[in-house]
């Protein structure tokens, strides 16, 4: 076995679903000072199911409506797929546990180990896919605003699909590599550096877009509807804060957990932080629910597609 024991926490970042530090009480009583915070299984399944359903709805809506076959909606679909993978991972893991408990799967078989590795890869793939999809959405919006008239030449449908293929190929390769070599520090450090780097880059793109929108609002402030623009700019500030705040609050706790698990697993403060791991996992699944609301559902076209889907479900409607 590898002597690098702390790395096992990274190897299975999401697998400590029902792990309880109380089991260590067989070895020492000191562990019980920072008890593992357990989230009920019902909450897990509800949040995961809601995330999967919501993102599936978005995929169906974009596929069915021909008006939505645009690069920006394809990037939103990519985000929906990565969110769905994260929630699916959690659901499959719990089903896996139930099956093992009921005895349908052996405990030490090779199949289970490979399944475990595959599920780890799925989780990391979901994380990387989420980050890169957010980056693609921000870049697409940036091009839309700053190169509005040339947008259709810069971002064709074919280029958007090529970009998505490259992103997902890179994410798949990285996730498999990270899952296989998770006990190396060399994989943990780039993984945790990638997160704030992407965050800063996305923040810079959005702030630049926001500044441009503000300057435009000022240019037409002489119109009678100037009060509308003040409200619009406030809404812009709120929207931006929500975008980045949700991303930070849902992913940063988990990234910090990985860092602490790698570098200070024996420190009592770090151990107490790592005891809230299930809450961090639930936050990531909540991110899968919130992301569609702040990206997909804000589009009027997509909302009207949903209305058509639900109201026309009884009678056949033409698309």
């Amino acid at each position: 076995m590898s002597t690098d024991r702390p790395s096992n926490l990274i190897k299975h970042p999401g697998q400590t679903s029902i792990a309880s530090l109380e089991n260590i009480s067989d070895f020492s009583l000191n562990i019980t000072d920072c008890a593992q915070v357990v989230v009920p299984e019902e909450v897990f399944f509800t949040v995961a199911a809601a995330g999967i359903l919501e993102n599936l709805l978005i995929l169906i809506a974009v596929i069915r409506n021909k008006n939505l076959h645009l690069p920006m909606y394809f990037f939103i679909c990519s985000l929906a797929i990565s969110d769905m993978l994260g929630s699916l991972y959690k659901t499959l893991e719990n089903i896996f546990i139930i099956l093992c408990k009921m005895g349908y799967l052996t405990r030490h078989g090779d199949f289970e180990k490979k399944l475990d590795d595959a599920m780890d890869s799925m989780f990391i793939l979901s994380l990387l896919g989420s980050i890169f999809s957010l980056l693609a959405i921000a870049a697409d919006r940036y091009i839309t605003i700053f190169y509005a008239l040339r947008y259709h030449n810069i971002m064709t449908l074919r280029r958007a699909l090529v970009i998505l293929a490259i992103i997902w190929a890179f994410c798949a390769g990285s996730s498999i590599a990270i899952a296989l070599f998770s006990y190396e520090a060399a994989t943990v450090i780039p993984f945790t550096i990638l997160f704030p780097l992407m965050m800063c880059f996305i923040l810079c793109l959005y702030v630049h877009m926001f500044l441009l929108a503000r300057s435009h609002a000022k240019k037409i402030a002489s119109l009678p509807s100037s009060t509308v623009h003040h409200r619009t700019n406030m809404k812009g500030a709120i929207t931006l804060t929500i975008f980045l705040g949700v991303f930070l609050c849902c992913w940063a706790p988990f990234v910090l957990h990985i860092l602490l698990a790698r570098f200070c697993p024996h420190n009592p403060y770090c151990a107490c932080y790592m005891s809230i791991f299930h809450v961090n996992g639930t936050l990531i699944m909540c991110n899968a629910i919130i992301n569609p609301m702040i990206f997909a559902f804000r589009s009027p076209e997509l909302r009207s597609t949903f209305k058509k889907m639900f109201y026309c479900s009884r009678s056949s409607c033409n698309w």
Binding site: F27, V38, E41, C100, H216, K235
Partner: protein
């Protein structure tokens, strides 16, 4: 590779919700963590992290709202404001063909203003670059031409704009409306 072991018969002090199964990992087996002699509160990292995160998000929000409020509004004279008003009316007229799609009918005002933003943006870029390109001939509807001729200074720039890229301009209108919702709604 680490191996995982499923332990289903381990009793635990903490009550598990429906099932008493656990994953067990090797890292549980090496040395317990000692909690004696802690100087600060044991959850100090958790509290510090979340407080820091909240402070950062609030700080970011205040910076963004300050950005909206700093700087005086642009002082336009009456003539220029009238031209801008005509530009706005042009935009409202131009957006009329899209009403037939019955998608944006209830958001015409905001979308025409958003289109106006990007028209202004492109006009600025054109003025700065001082391009004199000659694209395909003007093939838009006559209504657009009538309104554009009635405006003063903007007419020349607008013609240059439309001649530059008129086929994409129609698609850009819909694109701009669809893409600007996230920051203007």
């Amino acid at each position: 590779m680490s191996s995982l072991r499923l332990i289903s018969n381990r009793t635990s002090q903490q009550a598990l919700s429906n099932s008493d199964y656990t994953w067990d990992y090797e890292y549980y087996e090496y040395g317990p963590v000692s909690f004696e002699g802690l100087k600060a509160h044991k959850y100090s990292i958790v509290i510090g992290f979340w407080v820091g995160l909240a402070v950062f998000v609030i700080f970011m929000f205040f910076v963004l709202t300050l950005l909206t409020k700093t700087g005086a509004p642009h002082q336009d004279n009456a003539e220029l404001s009238e031209k801008r008003f005509r530009m706005n009316s042009f935009v409202a007229d131009f957006g009329r063909p899209l009403e037939s799609e019955r998608v944006f009918s209830h958001q015409m005002a905001e979308e025409s203003q958003s289109l106006f933003h990007f028209c202004i943006n492109e006009l600025d870029h054109m003025n700065k670059a001082k391009e004199s390109q000659k694209g395909p001939s003007l093939d838009s509807n006559t209504h657009f031409q009538e309104v554009s001729k009635s405006s003063g200074v903007f007419e020349e720039d607008l013609h240059r704009l439309t001649k530059f890229n008129i086929p994409n301009f129609v698609n850009t209108d819909k694109l701009v409306m669809q893409s600007s919702h996230w920051i203007l709604d």
